[in-house]
Amino acid sequence: MTTHETPKPAGIFTPFNMIAGAVLLLGFVITVLRFTGGLGAVTNLSHDNPWGFWIGFDLLCGVALAAGGYTTSAACYIFGLKRFHAAVRPAILTAFLGYALVVLALHYDVGRPWRLPYPIFYSPGPSSLLFEVALCVFLYLSVLFVEFTPAPLEWLGLGKIRGYVVRLTLVLTIFGVILSTLHQSSLGALFVIAPSKLHPLWYSAYLPIYFFVSSIFAGLSMVIFEGTLAHKYLHHKMDAEHLAASEGIVFAFGKAASFVMMGYVYIKLVGLAADHNWHYLATGWGAWYLFEIVGLVALPSFLYALGVREKNMRMIRFASALTVLGIVVNRLNVCLVAFNYHLPADQRYFPHWMEIALSVFVVTVGVAAYKFITTRMPVLYGHEDYKHGH
């Protein structure tokens, strides 16, 4: 039995629509200001701090939290854990929207959007990490688009084309895992070039590994976190298969995230030992570092473990929210807080309110797009005609 019928039309002036509309309007105004007045009109960026909140939050956090796409599809299609199938489409959708919004936000930072294809097709710089990131994001966004198309094709009734796309699933999944491994780590590698600017507690030659490993549990946690919100607000859209599988998915993903997080804490310790940075732990920066590692990685890892052992769903969901917060704090620490740490306070970067407002705008676009798609297309439920066609 499916339960994905809309209970009753709620009208257009719902609280969500009103708030989203106001944010979108503000975002539109800032967009006009940015593309007519330049970066200086809406940001506090400078030559000392050319990468600000848009890179730290929209790009680094966006890419890390969109990692649920490759982790879930790899678990289901490569490792053959078919019991996670119900989580694949929501995870792919979240990843696709996440990467699409990363590219959207990058336009605001880089400017001149009509030159977006230049690094790939016109003047590639194959010796640059940024080229590798650009190529991977370009290719992976295309892969995610194709991976997601079965849902809109089912919605549009184009079963024949859907059949062709579904046959590509395994190839696309393998391609997605390779591309994600490459660019998730490359985002960390971008900071390896700045050993004198990044605080030693966050700087490490292992930054690419830290970014890649943390993206795995970020993705797993994001699937749990997003599932929690979907259960709360889109419960009526889920079918029996999705509802039956969701509990098992939460416990399994919580268990995987817990172990990877403990491994992450361990390799962070090895990094501290390799660079002999123990003495920094006794400083103010050390307290902030310990808060990030103990409070926002080790603690949620332990909460996940307790939740899995006690079969406590609430604890796992709380741990997932804490983990998502931890990833945001980590990426902002590397990109903003611990970056240029030696500069005098008056030369340090703090985002302009319009930078933060634009990031809120980008997130709102994502939430609105997610809601639009999940209320229309078979994402949280299986389409009647293709129940056994996966």
């Binding site: 817990s258 090895v270 030992a273 473990a305 079969k311």
Partner: protein
């Protein structure tokens, strides 16, 4: 107390020594954590 190093050799010897000790701890600690994590799992079906 901060350790002082006078040569790169000393630095590498010390930091690698600590890293190897940590690896020993990891080899014991991480499997123990896995046992804690999966301690109450249902018995796997073997057939």
């Amino acid at each position: 107390m901060e350790t002082h190093f006078f040569t790169l050799q000393e630095f590498m010897t010390f930091t690698k020594g600590v890293a190897y000790l940590l690896m020993g701890c990891g080899l014991i600690g991480l499997p123990l954590y896995w046992i804690f994590l999966t301690g109450r799992d249902d018995e796997m079906r073997r057939f």
